[in-house]
């Protein structure tokens, strides 16, 4: 089970959260889009092997949405950040591993 750092409540178990897939997908003006652009907005989300910025909601806690860097191969957790704030850079895998080791100790 993942331990997820809610920016409002701190580190909590994964079962307190719901997943919201790729973060930072803006809502476009449907009137200005072609059918295929609209389809892309509706259905295409990033699915990388590695670091992914994604949305989570702490439904069993504060009930608020936030964004989080997470690695889809190692399940390492990166920095959490609030929507509409500057996105931190994708974590360097090695430094993040050290940080997680430290967090466990």
């Amino acid at each position: 089970m993942l331990n997820i750092p809610c920016p409002y409540c701190g580190l909590r178990n994964e079962t307190e959260f719901h997943y919201g897939a790729e973060a930072g997908v803006g809502y476009p003006d449907p009137n200005t889009l072609s059918d295929s652009e609209w389809a892309k907005y509706l259905h295409i989300r990033a699915n990388p092997k590695g670091w992914l910025p994604e949305r989570w909601v702490h439904f069993a806690g504060c009930g608020r949405w936030f964004n989080l860097w997470r690695n889809t191969v190692t399940h390492e957790i990166g920095p959490a950040y609030l929507p509409f704030t500057t996105q931190p850079k994708a974590p360097d895998p090695d430094s993040n591993r050290d940080r997680m080791e430290g967090a466990k100790a």
Partner: protein, 421 residues
């Protein structure tokens, strides 16, 4: 003092044992080095990729075909699923393709000349709430209209079929009824892959394991080959049949697909006496279980909530699944979990597969089987082979084109299939 086995060196014990063991069976398929060029390259050596290669050779007379597999043959979802086979889907498009697949299953052992323990022991799908009941009834009528065998069972009839099931009305998720597909069942999944591999190899298909596709040779929007960890291979046509890794391959070829990759877990118990001769599924409480020929209970859990390529999932997902299973089958409380594992499934927005052409000429894709691709192995390979050989989709996979996400003609199987797909 007499010599006992214990005084022999480990090497001598090994040699003595080897002398008494049956001979290793001959290799089922030829090990080959990749040639410089093929008419068709299939990327992905799971059941669907192998079936595609087999039907390309058998139905369409092609033989200069390679199946390229990053890991080992059938090391992905093909041998990680819970082996359930059925065709009782809701929509006409799904019913048609899954039923075609089920018909192929019924003669597959004879066709491939390979035993795969295909057993039509029947599949029960339980309903636990009023809305669940309505949707299962709807599914039952839809199947009847499509000529797919389906029966409606009351809780008492369910109990008669599966005596170990708990049909008490006072549990959290009581059994209110069920659909039953008598022709559904299970098969031994690794043998299915081996059967297809052997039959394809016998028809001249090259099966190349341990070779990763790292890119595509695309000129004027037309694919002309693949780059692999063993060098470049020219190809007239390329088929992507890579399940959870489809997004990665599509991105390498320069286009995006609406797929999210998630872990899906399963587990087995130790070998037990036979207590369950029907496949029991419940989408509402996330239980699907059968008992394999050897005696282990094979159970599937739900997908983890998040995207992952790690081939493992969270234990709380297993715990949740087992809690539901124990309510349904109190007798299982004495069983133990022997082993759990995960596979990475390719989930499309409408929980239906994507089979057909891509924005790149001569590059074809077969993905999105999500949590339920095993049952479709023969049918999927059949229509994919047709699509590659003719450059146009088969009648059965026309509705499953990538374009449906633009036209809006989705084939929403979430309701009918749930997680136990």
């Amino acid at each position: 003092m007499t010599h006992t086995k214990d005084t022999l060196s480990p090497g001598a014990i090994g040699r003595r044992r080897a002398a008494t063991l049956p001979e290793q069976p001959p290799q089922l398929w030829k090990s080959v080095k990749p040639k410089k060029a093929y008419d068709v390259v299939i990327v992905g050596g799971g059941g669907h990729g192998l079936a595609t290669a087999y039907y390309l050779a058998k139905n369409h007379g092609l033989s200069n075909i390679a199946v390229i597999e990053k890991g080992w043959l059938a090391g992905g979802n093909t041998a990680r699923n819970t082996t359930i086979i059925r065709s009782n889907y809701l929509w006409d498009e799904s019913g048609a393709i899954y039923e075609h697949s089920l018909k192929l299953w019924e003669t597959l052992e004879e066709d491939l000349g390979y035993e795969m323990f295909f057993s039509q022991r029947g599949v029960l799908t339980l309903a636990h709430s009023v809305s669940d009941l309505r949707s299962k009834r709807r599914n039952f009528y839809a199947n009847a209209l499509n000529g797919i065998d389906s029966e409606w069972l009351t809780p008492e009839e369910v109990k008669k079929l599966v005596p170990i099931i708990n049909i008490s009305p006072d549990v959290r998720y009581p059994v209110l009824g069920a659909t039953y597909q008598p022709r559904g069942g299970i098969a031994k999944h690794d043998w299915v892959a081996w059967g297809y591999a052997k039959a394809a190899s016998d028809l001249g298909v090259d099966i190349i394991q341990g070779t990763e596709v790292t890119g595509f040779d695309i000129r004027n929007n037309k694919v002309e080959g693949v780059h692999t960890s063993q060098g470049s291979i020219a190809a007239g046509k390329v088929g992507l049949v890579a399940a959870g890794h489809s997004s990665i391959l599509a991105n390498l070829a320069g286009f995006s697909i609406p797929i999210q990759s998630r872990p899906l877990q399963a587990l087995v118990s130790p070998l037990l006496e036979q207590v369950l001769d029907t496949v029991v599924m419940s989408g509402a409480v996330h239980v699907y279980v059968s008992q394999a020929h050897k005696g282990e209970l094979v159970m599937g859990a739900g997908t983890d909530a998040f995207n992952s390529y790690a081939q493992r999932g969270g234990f709380h997902v297993i715990e949740h699944q087992l809690a539901s299973a124990l309510e349904l089958f109190p007798i299982f409380s004495r069983a133990q979990v022997l082993r759990t594992w995960g596979g990475i499934v390719d989930i499309a927005p409408d929980a239906s597969p994507i089979i057909g052409l891509t924005p790149v000429e001569n590059l074809f894709i077969n993905t999105g089987w999500g949590t339920g691709g095993f049952k479709a192995t023969p049918g999927s390979g059949w229509v994919m082979a047709h699509t590659i050989a003719n450059g146009t989709p088969h009648e059965l996979n026309k509705p499953f084109a990538l374009e449906r996400f633009v036209t809006g003609h989705l084939i929403d199987e979430h309701g009918a299939a749930g997680v136990a797909h």
